[in-house]
């Protein structure tokens, strides 16, 4: 997921082109910071300090602003996660539908705890707040994909199919 490139330089050409396009259309360059950070994370899997410096330069904002933004939003990562990043909702609707035992079950199954990454880099785990899957609770997301109406058996099946 991480690549050995000079991280203070630009992103892949397609990403740079998307950023250029948005910077022409947004009222300010600074407003595209969230986009630039997404492009970095989509490419690298996480956002390094070098990349933050790059984002600051790209958007014409101080590095302190980039750090402030990265640390404010829960989805930006400042270190790599596993190939399969498992996020299980802990909030009220999922709790009512059995999230607490499900969370324990999933953690045991993949063998990692909160904010941990497995030694082989395959799994990482995080409890998350409401992801708007309330009517199909309990739910988890693996990387981007939602999996809803979970039971321990269904979760086992989904996790078991991942390599």
């Amino acid at each position: 997921m991480t690549t050995k490139v000079d991280q203070s330089s630009g992103l892949a050409a397609a990403a740079e082109a998307r950023i250029d396009d948005l910077q022409r259309r947004y009222p300010t360059k600074a407003a595209t910071l969230l986009h630039v950070l997404w492009e970095i994370q989509w490419q690298d899997g996480w956002i390094s300090e070098d990349r933050m410096r790059y984002a600051a330069k790209r958007c014409g904002v101080p590095i302190s602003k980039v750090l402030g933004v990265v640390s404010f939003y829960t989805m930006y990562r400042t270190k790599p996660v596993g190939r399969h990043h498992v996020q299980v909702c802990r909030n009220i609707c999922c709790h009512i539908m059995g999230a607490a035992p499900l969370i324990e079950h999933i953690k045991a199954k993949i063998g990692v705890g909160e904010h941990e990454v497995s030694a082989d880099g395959k799994w990482s785990f995080e409890e998350v707040e409401c992801m708007a899957g309330c009517a199909w609770a309990p739910m988890m997301a693996i990387n981007e994909a939602y999996h809803e109406n979970l039971t321990p058996e269904k979760a086992d099946r989904i996790l078991g199919e991942l390599v």
């Binding site: 948005l22 259309r25 947004y26 009222p27 300010t28 600074a30 407003a31 595209t32 910071l33 969230l34 986009h35 950070l37 997404w38 958007c59 904002v61 602003k65 402030g68 933004v69 404010f72 939003y73 829960t74 989805m75 930006y76 802990r90 909030n91 009220i92 609707c93 709790h95 009512i96 539908m97 998350v128 707040e129 409401c130 992801m131 708007a132 899957g133 309330c134 009517a135 199909w136 609770a137 997301a141 981007e144 994909a145 939602y146």
Partner: protein, 419 residues
């Protein structure tokens, strides 16, 4: 029952432009561009009486009319798809099943307020809704519904998808603006209201996905026709997200004023076998909880729910069954609001965390009698003392849980040893 919002949901490929057009989609935009003035559009939306569906319930047409047209500054529209209020999962299905209905409504709104750019703010976690919107926006540009000189009208509109990155507070309208500007999603003091001074210091209207998605229907059928649904003060239909141990959870489009009991027992099929109804949070996790017997008497409109001591809010209806422990649920909510507090205002930053620690202590059997009064005292110091409504979004649960279910909290309190 007429479906304003969900009419296309069952159709195959309902998210594609071809399907939407085949069902009459973009006819409202054509009608507007064919000769309605912005003022006429606003009048029609005002006549419909549609109120903001994000939670606040402010009349949409009136909001649009607040935009000053003489500042010389560009005007912006922000579409709020940061659906994050626990219990609420309706907007994502509009985006998944009928993204063009939202886009059409947003273009009409932008025309009415003379906006130059529509920022579509979508929560970062949404994947399928995001991909469907990206595709739908591409289709709308290619078809000439977005971009320069829309349908030959001379009206230009750019449409930018702004992907959030995980922060509940960005659903608050000024927090959303801060995020659109590329910053931390910190709410801003009002006034000035965004309609006057919003994104980038320019007049800005922020509307929820569901609100804008009603606009094509209103333009096609007239505000008066929309007003036939619902009640006098709460016109139209509303999406209600039902979660919890009912037989058929999901999103339901009902006319406002629909009896809660009917929705629960008939549409949702009642409780699952073996589960009894204990309480309902009717409008998203922020609003006061209602004990079952009270909840079953209300009608689902803004006034009826308020008269019964809660709020219709976002329409996220959380069904609580008899196996649930109320202190545990309140502890979960306190954890959530503490986690999501942006930290700008001390009463919220400290109060939500303090309330959470007290509740955790109580749930672990370490609480004292004084802790219940302490919770209410913390709530009192948070309420109305902050820039935005997040602190009050925990105050309402604290007060209502303790009012209606105090005995459950007391049962967890340690027996006090007399001195």
């Amino acid at each position: 029952m007429t479906k304003v919002l969900t009419g296309n949901w069952g159709k195959k490929d309902s998210h594609l432009l071809a399907t939407y057009e085949a069902g009459g989609g973009y006819s409202a935009l054509k009608k507007v561009m064919g000769g309605l003035s912005p003022a006429q559009v606003i009048d029609e939306v005002k006549a419909s009486g549609v109120r903001g569906r994000g939670g606040a319930g402010f009349p949409a047409g009136m909001k649009w009319s607040f935009v000053p047209q003489n500042t010389g500054k560009p005007i912006y529209l922000c579409i709020n798809a940061d659906e994050s209020e626990p219990g609420t999962c309706k907007d994502r299905q509009i985006l998944e099943f009928d993204p063009h209905m939202l886009i059409e409504g947003a273009i009409i709104c932008a025309y009415a307020i003379r906006a130059k750019i529509a920022f579509f703010y979508i929560r970062g976690e949404f994947d399928l809704p995001y991909r469907r919107m990206v595709k739908a926006v591409e289709e709308a540009f290619a078809a000439g519904y977005l971009g320069k000189n829309i349908l030959g009208s001379g009206f230009d509109l750019d449409f930018l998808i702004h992907k959030g990155a995980g922060a509940y507070i960005c659903g608050e309208e000024t927090g959303l603006i801060s995020s659109v500007e590329g910053g931390r999603g910190e709410p801003k003091v009002k006034p000035p209201f965004p309609a006057v001074k919003g994104a980038f210091g320019c007049p800005t209207i922020i509307n929820n996905v569901e609100t804008l998605a009603t606009v094509p229907w209103i333009i096609n059928n007239g505000g008066a026709a929309y007003k036939q649904f619902g009640t006098e003060k709460s016109p139209g239909t509303k999406l209600i997200s039902v979660s919890g141990r009912v037989k058929r959870p999901g999103n339901y489009e009902v006319p406002l004023g629909y009896p809660l009991q009917k929705l629960l027992l008939e549409d949702c099929g009642g409780m699952q076998d073996g589960y009894e109804l204990k309480a309902i949070i009717p409008g998203g996790s922020s609003v006061p909880v209602m004990p079952a017997e009270k909840a079953l008497t209300v009608n689902l409109d803004y006034e009826s729910v308020a008269a019964a001591g809660s709020l219709l809010g976002s329409g996220g209806m959380i069904i609580i069954d008899h196996t649930q422990k109320m202190p545990e649920l309140l502890e979960i909510l306190a954890h959530f609001y503490s986690h999501e507090s942006c930290g700008q205002c001390t009463p919220c930053r400290e109060g939500t965390g303090w309330a959470h620690r007290v509740l955790k202590k109580i749930c672990h059997g370490e609480g004292t009698k004084a802790d219940l009064d302490l919770l209410l005292s913390i709530a009192g110091q948070m309420s109305g003392a902050t820039i935005c409504f997040l602190a009050d979004s925990l105050v309402m649960p604290i007060r209502s849980f303790l009012t209606h279910f105090r005995a459950e909290f007391e049962a967890l309190i340690k027996a006090e040893v007399p001195a």
